[in-house]
């Protein structure tokens, strides 16, 4: 059996704004499929990625109702990633930077996301096989 790896990803970008968020979630998906242990430290706008109050919407411009628009919400993708990781024998530990959360009023998250501090990022990095920082510009 292959050694279980632990990878840490550090995210900074908010949802709906940049391809970096999409690429980050794609990387998490690959790691989840392999059953790796995954740590995510989200700070600045990235604390909104698992925000519980994200809501789908219709698209009046294109004449599509709520179901037809099928608007994607990152919180649902993250919930799916947590489930996929667990299904494959790993664990996705997502920490939102508490200071960043308070600044933005983003305290309501989906289950499986917890609040932390930069000290947790240090602990993540110390306990991981590798860490990738995806900073914004």
């Amino acid at each position: 059996m292959a050694e279980k790896k632990t990878l840490t990803f550090v995210l900074m970008d908010p949802p709906y704004e940049d391809a970096r968020s999409t690429t980050a979630l794609r990387l998490l998906h690959v790691a989840a499929q392999r059953g790796y242990n995954i740590n995510v430290f989200a700070y600045e706008g990235a604390v909104y990625l698992p925000f519980a109050k994200q809501a789908p919407h219709a698209n009046a411009v294109h004449g599509r109702d709520l179901a037809q628009e099928d608007h994607p919400n990152p919180k649902d993708w993250i919930a799916a990633l947590i489930a996929e990781t667990e299904k494959n024998g790993g664990k996705l530990d997502w920490i939102n930077c508490g200071l960043c959360v308070d600044e933005r009023g983003a305290g309501e998250t989906i289950p499986g996301v917890r609040r932390g501090s930069p000290a947790d990022l240090w602990k993540f990095a110390e306990s991981s096989d590798n860490t990738l920082v995806i900073g914004t510009r």
Binding site: K5, L7, A19, R20, T23, R26, L27, V30, A31, R34, Y36, D129, N130, T131, L132, V133, I134, G135, R137
Partner: protein
């Protein structure tokens, strides 16, 4: 000899600081390290054979593994037959593989 993974997400025609990224890759390789330059998002634009792809071709010629994310290429309509010399299409799995093997990784 160390192993490095440099992920470039920016288009050199949009972000001139990619020059420094390429220069870092060139320097690491020149010092004898094993280096992969993985292009993603708009970073794949110069992977299409064009006036902007000379930098990537030079890195590949120097022995750098230059890979372009296949998803990003498809998003931008860049077919495998249009890639610059020495650039190969690759899945994002490569990044996770190289992270898992402990490469020193930088995202730009």
């Amino acid at each position: 000899m160390a192993k490095y993974l440099v992920i470039e997400s920016r288009d050199p025609l949009e972000s001139k600081d990619t020059v420094w990224s390429y220069e870092l890759v060139r320097g690491l390789k020149a010092e004898g390290h094993e280096v992969t330059l993985f292009l993603v998002q708009n970073g794949v634009f110069p992977a299409r054979r064009s006036a902007a792809s000379a930098g990537l071709e030079a890195l590949a010629k120097a022995g750098v593994e230059v890979l372009a994310d296949d998803f990003s290429l498809r998003e931008r309509g860049i077919g495998a037959g249009r890639l610059a010399a020495g650039v190969r299409s690759a899945p994002l799995e490569v990044v996770v593989d190289q992270l898992a093997e402990g490469r020193k990784a930088i995202w730009h």
